[in-house]
Amino acid sequence: MLTPVVDEDGAPFWEYAARGELRVQTCADCAEPRFPPRPCCPHCQSFASEWRPVSGHGRVWSYVVPHPPLLPDYAEQAPYNVIVVELADAPRIRLVGNLVSGPDAPLNSHPPDRIRIGARVRVVFSSAGLPQWILERP
């Protein structure tokens, strides 16, 4: 499986995720959250930022179900789902992830035909430190 190729701006996100925390880069001056992380606030041009905890609740904004040809580790689990989650407390922050049956479950653990846009989800974390998503009401 591919692991995140982390850059300097994104590193804090993954460090918090490894501790089971979902945090979003936020401007320390104008308080506007931004994603993906970057050095400068596009709203007020401040270079000061902090990592704000978010609730970890959200809704499915869209989803796809990839089929082969895929990289081997992913082909083995196909068809699986990939979702985009709109965070409840920062609607423009949307995270790509997988809807799974529980923490550390494989990509194909939630049936693709039981996903709908708008469904409420919440974050869990894999042992590898990746955010995953489970249905609020399975």
């Binding site: 982390v6 994104g10 993906p36 796809v64 990839p66 990289l71 990939v82 790509v96 992830g97």
Partner: protein, 394 residues
């Protein structure tokens, strides 16, 4: 003595409108696999385009291509015996750069930086590896936010926007089929097209294998070896060339504020992509409107890019791109015949350069699926990435 700075309002800028023209086009055969290498194919396409224009290689003083083009200017110029080059540029973002190569040459020639420009694309995408298979050359941003979760391929990334478009606007698989069918029907008229002798039916489309739901096999472009080129000169020079000039009426690039490339999920309005930005500039500098466009060549790496582009370039309202495809509107005789050579879906996928050359053929009256009397053509580059577009007229 102090020199007062020269200030000019936009009314003083001459602009590029109709100042330059495409005087020659050329291409190699298209195939899943061609024996010659990309450099050789590039040389063949460029020589064919210069021959079409009746211009000698030694007269070329400008080149433009894609950053993904592997044959650089030094190789092309020394192999073909080009003259001294005074302008050369490359445009990024894969298929988003196609029309921009021509736009850069038009600007260079209109502003006196060069006189004879060649744009080209040579690619062995059919016999080469799929770019997304490369796991070592991935940029950390934005891939760190998408690829670990199995969003691996451009098809997956665009499928995500497609599903959202279906959800918000009621776009259907039948709408996407209308796009695939129009391209295939035109390819069936074009002997140079990979899919010349292979008709497509709704049954084939609806029962084909998935690539990334909601996109199936026929929503995805071909994988092709081939090369194409075109020659850009001043309008005045073009009138002395072998072929009727095809004027570059308006040209634009588009990189919208807060855009994120093919994974454009992180702004206020992900379904309003680069086409909208390019379109605003394109129409601002044009003497005609979307209603006056008689034929269009719309970048079609995926069928779903067509509804997005139809909305962005103003052929219909926001969210109406799916419905626009109904009733044969994309076919010959319809409101907007498109991709009349077969496009990337059914002629050849060479990062959209075949859309430029087909636009030229339409305005010369020499297309294999000619729109009667076509005098205006929109050509677009890849939507969903920083893009570009051309308005051509005869």
């Amino acid at each position: 003595m102090a020199v007062a700075p020269v200030t000019a309002d936009s009314g003083d800028v001459a602009g590029i409108k109709d100042a330059t023209a495409i005087a020659g086009i050329g291409q190699t055969p298209f195939a899943r696999q061609l024996p010659e290498n990309e450099r050789t194919l590039a040389c063949r396409a460029i020589l064919a385009a210069l021959g079409d224009a009746g211009i000698a290689p030694a007269e070329v003083d400008a080149l433009a291509s894609y950053t993904m083009e592997e044959t650089d200017e030094v190789e092309v110029a020394k192999a073909l015996g080009l003259g001294d080059l005074t302008y050369f540029s490359k445009v990024g973002y894969g298929g988003g750069g196609s029309c921009a190569t021509v736009a850069h040459l038009a600007a260079a020639i209109a502003s006196g930086q060069a006189t004879v420009g060649v744009a080209w694309r040579s690619r062995k995408r059919g016999s080469g590896p799929r770019p997304w298979r490369n796991t070592t050359a991935q940029l950390p941003t934005p891939a760190q936010w998408t690829r670990p979760f199995g969003l691996l391929r451009p098809s997956d990334e665009i499928a995500m926007l497609t599903r959202r478009h279906m959800h918000e606007y009621g776009t259907t698989r039948d709408h996407l089929f209308n796009v695939a069918l129009a391209c295939r029907n035109r390819a069936n008229q074009n002997p140079a097209a990979i899919m010349y002798d292979r008709p497509l039916t709704r049954e084939m489309y609806m029962t084909s294998r998935w690539i990334s739901e909601p996109l199936c096999l026929f929503d995805n472009c071909l994988e092709t070896d081939g090369a194409l080129a075109c020659v850009v000169v001043s309008a005045e020079r073009a009138r002395d060339c072998r072929r009727a000039p095809v004027y570059i009426h308006s040209a634009a690039q588009g990189l919208p504020a807060q855009h994120h490339g093919m994974v454009n999920y992180w702004n206020d309005d992900p379904l309003t992509g680069p086409a909208w930005t390019a379109a605003r500039h394109l129409w601002k500098h044009a003497d005609f409107t979307p209603d006056d466009v008689q034929v269009a060549q719309i970048y079609d790496a995926f069928t779903a890019l067509i509804p997005l582009s139809l909305e962005g370039y103003g052929f219909c309202g926001r969210g109406e791109g799916g419905a626009f495809t109904e009733g044969g509107s994309l076919e010959i005789g319809g409101r907007l015949p498109m991709n009349t050579g077969g496009g990337g879906l059914s002629e050849a996928y060479v990062h959209g350069f075949n859309l430029i050359t087909e636009g030229v053929r339409q305005l010369r009256g020499t297309s294999t699926a000619q729109v009667p009397g076509a005098a205006t053509c929109l050509v677009t580059a890849g939507e969903g990435v920083p893009t570009s577009a051309l308005l051509l007229r005869s």
